[in-house]
């Protein structure tokens, strides 16, 4: 539970002619984590080379590539598909040869048609766009081009211009701009253009069309409509094809990916002309399963043996081994870093304490219910393993918020009538709430206690980790250093208790002094601090610089109260603005105007609480995660383990 799954190092040696069945068996079992063979001059692997892919690897890859182009055109993603029924692999293989090329051809044709139609539509749109400026011109467009001695210029001008040469001209004012068309002798064109340019003239190309522009636009628009309709038909056909074949295509994708993976496996093995060797890891409990499987698949011609693990040289891959409740929290750990093989796996701690911290921060029945509904609702819509795990974490956290909401007696910032707050109250004096305000000192001390406890646990885990991983005198020193940190922290506490009387904490101020005005608890506190410093310095003198973190890390847990109180404050302010300031005064004597304002008040209430829910989720989630990552993990956790990724893939759409 606190350690990763135990791994065994396995070596498989077999003749090359049973390579395919052995790979098939490994793929089928999906427990063998292949240790890639690297060609070097190491003694034990002299004369071995990297393997070559199995026969047919190239063709399968090409086929897969073609299939992927189809699935990407369809925008099909296997993750989004619900495996409705499993297709049999042998039947699918036949279908890949017979049906797949047909589908591919059909899709390619349809896609080609669609892109041709798209181009056509774009061209038509451009033509219509170029005709638009001339829609109001009463002249046939054919009269505007095709002259040898006359040049026609068209464009927009800010105001009417006199071009100053012999000309025919048309001028029309409109909102879009004032259209000017002039026909001038061709040899005078440069002069006219200069004049026009000075008058901020924007040229418009004259379309090579005949007939009145308005009429042409109508003709092209009809054509465009037709093309668009055709496009819609083709898209519908593509959608129909997608609908019909999506299941088949993802199954093909899975089968072909599997074949490619199998065919390329030898690239990770060491081979000679006649034999091959595969090294890798399997969970210790599965060793006999894999040995039996390979012996069966190779007809007894493969040799499978368990190799001894050399610490330091062989690094086993890490697979979590947690109870089902803790499993979703593995995601939170992977975000930080996967534990090393020899390290304590803190998933169980995070899975229990993260929801508690979240609940302590959010602690509101209303918000808890909203988040619970959200996590359950989204779980129905969203797919993907990681998202599911995250939603489960959120579900646990929201259940904990509901529980702490009951303990704090809070519902959307209101206190729950008839329910006394079991924990120190967090209700503030906002609006007409009254009461004695929040019990801040008690809350602070409560969070400090949580900090002290969690950090002590972290240091104890640090002692265990060092005892497990280190050797010789370094081991003793490292363990003692962790003990030193605990001693220093509790020593400071003892000193504080004998100097100040604090609520919810032991009070040693009344203990009579023994020597130098110090009482017994104070003396033992001082001794503990000194001893702690000595232990820490024995491991590494530089670490002493970190002594102030004892204080800052413990106080950091005050965020449990600080962030929590701010979320309560926002909720109460929203309630006060919406109900106390907007709605209530209107209800005294209701008018039409008052009804409107009441609706505004309800909106303020809803939007305010929605925003506070989002803030509470981010605040509660991030802050409690941070408490784990920064304050807890730094005491014992290193991480950096290699992920266990067994050879093979999870089959969702096909079966043998």
């Amino acid at each position: 539970m606190f350690s990763p799954e135990q791994m065994s190092r396995i070596l498989i040696a077999a003749p090359r002619n049973v390579m395919a069945p052995v790979i098939g068996e490994l793929h089928h079992q999906r427990i063998f984590h292949i240790e890639d063979f690297i060609e070097d001059d190491s003694e034990e692997y002299q004369g071995y080379r990297l393997g070559v892919p199995l026969e047919g690897a190239g063709e399968t890859s090409t086929e897969l590539l073609r299939l992927r182009s189809v699935t990407s055109a369809f925008a099909i993603r296997p993750e989004d598909m619900d495996p409705s029924q499993m297709l049999s692999a042998s039947r699918l293989k036949d279908q890949i040869e017979t049906e797949l090329p047909e589908i591919e051809k059909e899709v390619e044709d349809l896609l080609a048609t669609r892109s041709a139609l798209e181009n056509q539509a774009k061209e038509l749109e451009n033509t219509i766009e170029s005709l638009k400026p001339f829609a109001g011109v009463p002249v046939d467009l054919s009269l505007l081009h095709g002259y040898r001695t006359i040049s026609v210029i068209a464009g927009y001008v800010p105001k009417k211009v006199d071009v100053g040469v012999a000309r025919e001209e048309y001028y029309a004012e409109s909102k879009k701009g004032n259209l000017l068309i002039v026909a001038v002798p061709a040899e005078l064109r440069p002069d006219v253009e200069r004049t026009l340019l000075d008058a901020q003239f924007q040229a418009v190309a004259i379309p090579h069309e005949s007939g009145p522009a308005a009429e042409r636009i109508a003709v092209y628009s009809v054509r465009l409509e037709a093309v668009k309709k055709e496009m819609a038909e083709v898209s519908a056909k593509i959608d129909d094809l997608r609908e019909r074949h999506a299941g088949f295509l993802v199954a093909c994708d899975e089968l072909l990916s599997m074949d490619v993976e199998k065919a390329e496996a030898p690239l990770r093995f060491a081979t000679t002309d006649h034999a091959f060797i595969a090294e890798g890891w399997v969970p210790t409990q599965d060793v006999s399963a894999i040995t039996d499987g390979i012996t069966r698949a190779s007809g007894g011609r493969a040799f499978v043996t368990e190799l001894p693990i050399e610490p330091g040289k062989d690094i086993p891959p890490v697979e979590y081994d947690n109870i089902s409740y803790a499993r979703p929290s593995q995601l939170l750990l992977d975000v930080y870093s996967r534990p090393k093989y020899t390290e304590i796996d803190p998933t169980l701690f995070i899975s229990i304490v993260f929801p508690i911290f979240f609940g302590l921060i959010l602690g509101d029945v209303g918000y808890g219910l909203i988040l619970l509904a959200m996590s359950l609702g989204l779980g129905k819509v969203l797919k993907g393993d990681d998202i599911r795990m995250l939603l489960k974490v959120l579900r646990n956290a929201s259940v904990s918020s509901i529980i702490f909401g009951l303990l704090f007696s809070e519902f959307l910032g209101f206190s729950i009538p008839g329910l006394e707050s079991v924990l120190p109250s967090r209700h503030l004096n906002i609006g007409h709430a009254g009461g004695h305000g929040p019990a801040v000192p008690e809350l602070m001390i409560m969070s400090v206690w949580i900090g002290i406890a969690y950090i002590t646990v972290g240091r104890i885990l640090g002692m265990v980790n060092h005892a497990r991983q280190d050797h010789g005198s370094h081991r003793t020193r490292a363990v003692l250093a962790n003990l030193g940190w605990i001693l220093a922290m509790w020593g400071i506490l003892l000193m504080v208790w004998s100097a100040f009387a604090l609520p919810l904490m032991p009070d040693f101020t009344g203990v009579p002094p023994v020597v130098m005005g110090l009482s017994l608890p104070a003396i033992s506190g001082a001794v503990m601090i000194l001893l702690g410093i000595v232990f820490i310095a024995m491991d590494s003198g530089l670490e002493l610089v970190e002594l102030p973190t004892i204080l800052s890390h413990v106080l950091s847990f005050a965020r449990l109260v600080g962030v929590g109180l701010s979320s309560v404050a926002i909720a109460m302010v929203v309630n006060f603005i919406a109900i106390g300031m907007i709605i209530e005064p209107q209800l005294v004597n209701l008018s039409i105007f008052g009804v409107g304002l009441t609706i505004v008040g309800v909106l303020v209430f809803l939007i305010g609480h929605l925003m506070n829910t989002v803030l509470g989720m981010l605040g509660g989630g991030l802050q409690s995660l941070r408490l784990h990552y920064v304050e807890f993990f730094t005491k014992f956790y290193k991480g950096g383990g290699k992920k266990y990724s067994p050879f093979g893939m999870k089959r969702r759409f096909t079966e043998d």
């Binding site: 305000g437 929040p438 602070m444 106080l555 965020r559």
Partner: protein, 82 residues
């Protein structure tokens, strides 16, 4: 005598006011400090995420680390007020 009463009242009122001001300053200034610290982390975080989406979770955490400053400010102001 009445003047003395008023003077005492004024003194008490301004005491409360100064307390509130102190609390406001401790939250406000630490908020600015956090913002300045998160500014550079945030921009680096966005850059890193653009390069590699996998680091999103980690950089999100790095970004919230300076939040400790403002939380200390909040703690101090709460202790001042209550």
């Amino acid at each position: 005598m009445a003047e003395l009463d008023i003077a005492v009242q004024v003194a008490e009122a301004s005491q409360i006011g100064l307390k509130a001001l102190g609390a406001a300053l401790s939250v406000g200034l630490t908020g600015i400090a956090t913002a300045i610290a998160e500014m550079s982390i945030g921009s680096a975080a966005v850059g890193a995420t653009a390069e590699n989406k996998d680091v999103f979770g980690l950089v999100l955490l790095l970004t919230v680390i300076p939040e400790t400053i403002v939380i200390f400010g909040l703690v101090v102001s709460l202790l001042m007020l209550f």
